[in-house]
């Protein structure tokens, strides 16, 4: 095709289509990555292992805690799909500081990796380490609500609060997390080493825990993680396959699955809109090729007179269409990648607080390229076929 302007305009149609597909899919994917990241913060990758009833001689004994801190250790060291593990030991009571007192909604004895499990951060101070847990140190980390209720404006770090008349030194303050999905204030919490809670607050010498909280490496490996946890516990508890387990594994895959559907739908919708523009680009190619065939009828006649067969003409026009759309596709992909990176940066700079990851979807780019060539073949075939079926005498006579 030697008419540069026309070829350029034709290519432009495909460029816009392909760029739109690449950009939309890339933005859709970064949006879903962002949403997934936020849901991960809410704990979609958390698995909770709860103790179940124990069967002894046909009698089901309820309330016996079948899980131990050793189980938690084993899960943490044996499964590779797991990011962190923390035993949970429940406690209740009032906390007192000076003449202020307060009943926290949650008072939990936890392990050193609890913050990792919950994807939580500290606002100030530190967290208790393994040594403090082993020693049963009388330290605690408190949530934002507790700070407000007990200390008002005073600095809570290194102050000593009392629970059931037992002193605990405040070594850290948790970052504000707000309410959870059912409206409970998550900052109304006091965390202590689980060993301390068991010995001091419960007065128990057993190694039992109320629950084991596990976080998977990503929401995608939730199933693997759950399965591995079950295997480890079956083995440790000596339960034969098929027998009723003395624990239960609960996860939040349902939420994760719903989330996947939502973001997937979003991406599909964007891709569909972009696909329509690609279709329009394709029709543009067909239009231009049809005009081109009509305009070049005489050329086709000349080529036929000197020996071009129908398939030679067909090939010539088809190759032209494919080359045009592939060039368009290539430019479109490059443009789309740049546009999606640019759009992501723009979103990040305008809406503070969000941090959209820049994702350039390579599969989308590859599919878009292939699709561009397919558009060339599909929309180029009809005009090319019409050209190949022209009668040489009439084509030669065409003015």
């Amino acid at each position: 095709m030697k008419n540069k302007l026309r070829a350029g305009l034709t290519v432009l149609g495909v460029v816009i289509g392909i760029a739109a597909v690449t950009t939309m899919v890339s933005i859709g994917q970064s949006a879903s990555a962002l949403v997934q990241g936020q849901f991960a913060a809410l704990g979609t990758n958390v698995i909770v292992v709860l103790p179940g009833s124990q069967q002894r001689g046909g009698v089901r004994q309820a309330g016996i805690l079948t899980l131990t801190a050793a189980d938690a250790e084993a899960i943490g060291s044996e499964s590779r799909a797991i990011l962190a593990v923390s035993p949970i030991v429940g406690a209740q009571g009032q906390v007192v500081f000076g003449n202020a007192n307060w009943s926290p909604r949650d008072m939990q004895g936890v392990g050193a990796d609890y913050l990792t499990v919950r994807n939580w951060k500290l606002q100030a101070g530190g967290f208790f380490a393994r040594e403090e847990i082993n020693a049963g140190a009388q330290v605690c980390v408190i949530g934002n609500t507790i700070v407000a209720k007990l200390f008002q404006t005073a600095n809570p770090l290194n102050q000593v609060i009392r629970v059931k008349n037992i002193p605990f030194r405040v070594i850290g303050v948790l970052e504000k997390k707000g309410v959870n999905m059912v409206g409970d204030d998550q900052d109304n919490i006091v965390l202590m080493p689980f060993t301390t809670v068991r010995k001091r607050l419960q007065g128990s010498n057993f190694n039992n825990v109320n629950a084991i909280m596990v976080s998977a490496i990503s929401p995608k490996v939730m199933d693997t993680a759950s399965r591995e946890i079950e295997q480890i516990l079956y083995e440790r508890h000596g339960i034969a396959p098929g027998e009723k387990p003395d624990f239960s594994v609960q996860d939040t895959t349902e939420i994760a699955a719903t989330l996947g559907v939502i973001t997937g739908t979003l991406t599909m919708m964007l891709a569909t809109i972009a696909g329509i523009s690609l279709l329009v680009g394709g029709v543009g190619i067909m239009n231009i090729m049809l005009v081109s065939v009509t305009e070049r009828t005489r050329e086709i006649g000349i080529r036929m007179a000197i020996g071009a067969r129908g398939k030679d003409i067909l090939r010539q026009f088809l190759v032209e269409a494919i080359i045009l759309s592939s060039i368009g596709g290539f430019i479109g992909v490059v443009l789309g990648m740049a546009a999606s990176a640019g759009a992501t940066l723009l979103i990040n700079s305008f809406s503070s607080g969000t941090d959209w990851p820049i994702i350039v979807s390579l599969p989308a780019a590859a599919v878009a390229m292939l699709f561009a060539a397919a558009v060339g073949i599909f929309f180029g075939y009809y005009p090319a076929r019409r050209a190949s079926q022209l009668d040489p005498i009439e084509a030669l006579r065409y003015e």
Binding site: K2, R298, A305, I306, G307, R309, D312
Partner: protein, 242 residues
Amino acid sequence: MALIELRDVRRVYDLGEVEVHALRSVTLNIERGEYVALIGPSGSGKSTLMNTLGCLDRPTHGSYLLDGEEIVTMSRDQRAGIRNRQLGFVFQNFNLLNRTSAVENVELPLLYSQGISSRQRRQRATEQLQKVGLGDRLYHHSSQLSGGQQQRVAIARALVNCPAILMADEPTGNLDSKTSREVIGIFRELNETEGLTVIIVTHDPAVARNAKRTIVLRDGEVVADTHDFQRALEILNSEPVD
């Protein structure tokens, strides 16, 4: 065996309500190395006969043997192959591709033949252009060439694949008398020195006189086939007898 053998060739155009008999019944032989002019008034069927001989059109009746091969029963693609290998065309309006250099135009027929490398194509096209005196115009586009030069490019293109027959349809129709004589001179030379079979359709007596044999058509029939040009002219100019 003659190079071209037409037996009772008829061409009827079916225009719905009326049938037009462009060729009524043509039977003729053309031997290898002949130089033939087809003349006749407009509507006499000479263009149809030319298209038929050139394998661009298929007769509705009869038999056409070209170099012993039956053309009538061939498929479109087979006839395209025959046009490519056996025939070279020169048209009234040159029919060169626009925005394409002279040498690329001449290469075209080789493009549609199997097994010729691009270097061979370029070499043969260049040689052919040198032969017609355009060795210094290889990369000029057709719009940069004069009518006579364009027609010489067209002749080079017609000859590049070494055809058996050169077919020219009013080759001097768009040329002035001086360049017409040059082009006719090239045809004559090709016929005499290389033994190329040349068939020219023309209404210009000066061009037709140059040929060695004249076939006169009227109303789709051959009314004269002679080596005496004066006699052909007399028949052409005489009123048809009803």
